[in-house]
Amino acid sequence: MIQAEHLSKRYRKKQAVNDISFVVETGNVTGFLGPNGAGKSTTMRLMLGLDNGSGNTVFDGKPLHEYNNPSEIVGILLEAKAFHPTRSARNHLRVLAAAAGVPNSRVDEVLDIVGLKDVAKKKPGKFSLGMSQRLGIAAALLGKPKYLLLDEPANGLDPEGIAWLREFIKDYADAGNAVFISSHLLSEMSQMADNIVVIGQGKLIASTSVKELLSADGHSGVFVRTPKLSMLARLLESTGKNHVSEANGLLVTGMTPDQIGKLAFEAGVPIYELTARTATLEQAFFDLTADSQEFQAKEGKKK
């Protein structure tokens, strides 16, 4: 189990991470979600002792630096392109293998696991983003660590790559390890993660299991598509019902499709689509972080 306690990090003007505590349970995949700039990467760096902030993180009860060989405890992927562009993929991993104290044969093993065997002698500077991510995952696996800390590893992977990553990560956790993985691909997260830690603007918003998050009230609703968005919105506000703007429509909570249809009909608002939706992780995520979205594209949630 990884326990992160009271992690905080302040850049000159900006409180990037603000007193965040959570646990990553062994045997599980824990998803780490939050909007851009929420502080996910900074939190991971704090957990590893890379950033100089406050709070502490213990891996099975001990901070990382108290282990003789940290590579057996945690494998990291923080940046997709963390390699020298002209040092071959194999040599890059051999450099890291030496530091981790693992033999060169392990390098070929991990290259095989991530499917980069054929390009082992190639310069990674020419790799696609997806291949770079695979190389990063290979690096994380070198020491057969008990914990994996992966910062947006799915970014740049093709659908096949994502499917592979999902299965790999699940299997890895099932084997008595734990994976802490940040991602923007929420739908992916819902298929991958057992637990979810959500942060926004540096603060912890939720730390819960995916099941609980999805079953919680208020995350399902009715999607309404209409050309008269603002009219419908005003109408809903007058009834005191919540709604969230989406592309071409609104997601209304607390009303049935029948009620909305009737309301719109009476007010003369044309309706093109009325769909009852069950909760997805994506919606749950938006609900949770709507107030802490830092970089919003135009309007977000209306109350």
């Binding site: 002792g49 003789n68 940290p70 392109k81 963390a82 562009p85 040092r87 040599n91 890291l96 530091a99």
Partner: protein, 259 residues
């Protein structure tokens, strides 16, 4: 610690720039030693210190800088390519990582500087021989040449290594080390007058000052090199600056954000 050192050695030996710089250095030595000092003779008839001064007046003025570039790159790449995150999570102490860098940098410097000295002397001799120049008895002063050149090179590369772990930017460090310090010391020299000799690089330059033939006018003298003390004291003065710089670099390295 051994693991960290081995990793640093692999970093050094699996990157093109190391070999590119070493090739250029070899060309410089071949040109300067074999051709300028040796084959073409520079119009000066060899004295007893011809081979020694082929190093002191010649290759020792380019070798430390080239070695320093390789050493600086070894650290600058960590920041440029985000390797530092790996380096610091694969090792349980930041100090260990920094010490491994220091050791590999020092080892590389000692090996290359030694090889460079021997190559310079050998190629100069060969150049003179091939041209058929009369070579008087040579006082090789091998240990003197070696320790002074190696110490001077170490000073350069370890100063550079400390700077880059402090500043983390290749261009800035190269500028400071190869231009900034020289300019600063020259300007300070206008103010400090005779105390100028106590500036770090002016002091350490004493180490590779050419040997004058007994009784000769100091024609080979570098006007920018101090004469107020001997090479050991010069090294000591530079050493103090170096140690202070390293203490500052180390103190900050273990405390700052990794990148």
């Amino acid at each position: 610690m051994i693991a960290a050192v081995r990793s640093e050695l692999r970093k050094l030996l699996t990157v093109r720039s190391t070999f590119a710089v070493l090739s250029i250095l070899t060309l410089f030595i071949a040109f300067g030693g074999f051709y300028i000092e040796g084959y073409s003779g520079g119009g000066v008839l060899p004295d007893n210190h011809k081979l020694v001064n082929a190093v002191f007046g010649g290759s020792a003025n380019i070798m430390p800088q080239m070695i320093a570039i390789v050493v600086i790159l070894l650290m600058a790449h960590e920041y440029r390519y985000n390797l530092i995150n790996y380096s610091l999570t694969l090792t349980n102490r930041r100090t260990k990582f920094l010490a491994a860098k220091l050791m590999v940098a020092a080892l590389f410097t000692i090996v290359i500087a030694t090889a460079g000295v021997l190559l310079t002397m050998g190629l100069t001799y060969l150049g003179l021989k091939l041209k058929g120049t009369y070579i008087p008895h040579q006082d090789l002063m091998l240990w003197t040449v070696l320790w002074r050149t190696v110490a001077f090179s170490l000073g350069y590369s370890l100063f550079g290594l400390a700077l880059v772990s402090l500043i983390r930017n290749l261009t800035a460090v190269i500028f400071i080390l190869f231009a900034g310090i020289g300019i600063t010391e020259t300007l300070l020299g206008l103010v400090l007058k005779s105390k100028t000799d106590y500036l770090p690089f002016r002091a350490v330059g004493r180490l590779i000052q050419p040997i004058n033939p007994p009784g000769a006018s100091p024609q080979n003298d570098n006007p920018f090199v101090s004469h107020s003390f001997g090479p050991l004291k010069a090294l000591g003065i530079f050493g103090i600056y170096l140690v202070v710089l390293w203490l500052v670099s180390w103190y900050l390295f273990v405390r700052r954000d990794a990148s």
